[in-house]
Symmetry: C2
Subunit: 119 residues, 2 copies
């Protein structure tokens, strides 16, 4: 196995846009809340401030989760995966995580026939 996989050195594999996928999971309920993206600045800000900070691809700017909605995420733990191209945040979520008002972004089930159902 590689050094990136086994080592103690943080070496994120940023994609062509300089981003890494970041999953936010509720630290208590374990619900997967959302998937967002971080650039290097966002990851460092998250580590330094303990407040989940992402890169908004639609607005092309740094986005401190909750800065407008109030629905912030306090970061309990940051994890990185084997090949260092995905981040997992364990967070305490204030209010709903999703901008639609849903508790999390994964509120629809995909049926085997490809239709969506909101349980």
């Amino acid at each position: 196995m590689t050094q990136a996989e086994m080592g103690a050195i943080l070496a994120p594999r940023w994609n062509a846009d300089g981003l890494i996928a970041a999953i936010a999971q509720d630290a208590v309920t374990k619900t997967v809340l959302m998937l967002a993206w971080m650039n290097e600045t966002a990851l460092h800000a998250t580590l330094k401030t303990g407040r989940a900070t992402y890169w908004s691809r639609s607005r092309s700017r740094l986005w401190v989760k909750g800065e407008e909605s109030g629905h912030a995420q306090r970061v309990i733990e940051v994890r990185i995966d084997c090949d260092q191209d995905a981040i997992l945040l364990l967070v305490e979520q204030d209010g709903p995580a999703c901008h639609t008002g849903a508790a999390d972004c994964f509120y629809r089930m995909v049926r085997p026939d490809g239709s969506l159902e909101r349980p």
Copy 2:
């Protein structure tokens, strides 16, 4: 809110490479196991067979999870997020999910100083 966000029609927003991020979560323990990628064929195969199928970016081919390792994922539920650019699979995992032999891929914590720790 948009039709993609509220509707019952599956309309994944594939990225420039024709892929969508897919999070696999253990349906019982709620542990986030891994993040992988799906193309349209992989998503349809997952829905049809109930066996997690991804697109391997490193090998540029369809990858039925466990086809070589035996560490398959039986899919209990498929979910899609608000803007339909991320998938969440709730799975029953056979053996370790990670190719390193770890139970899941997120086995290292990132400390605030940026060093990694294996708890």
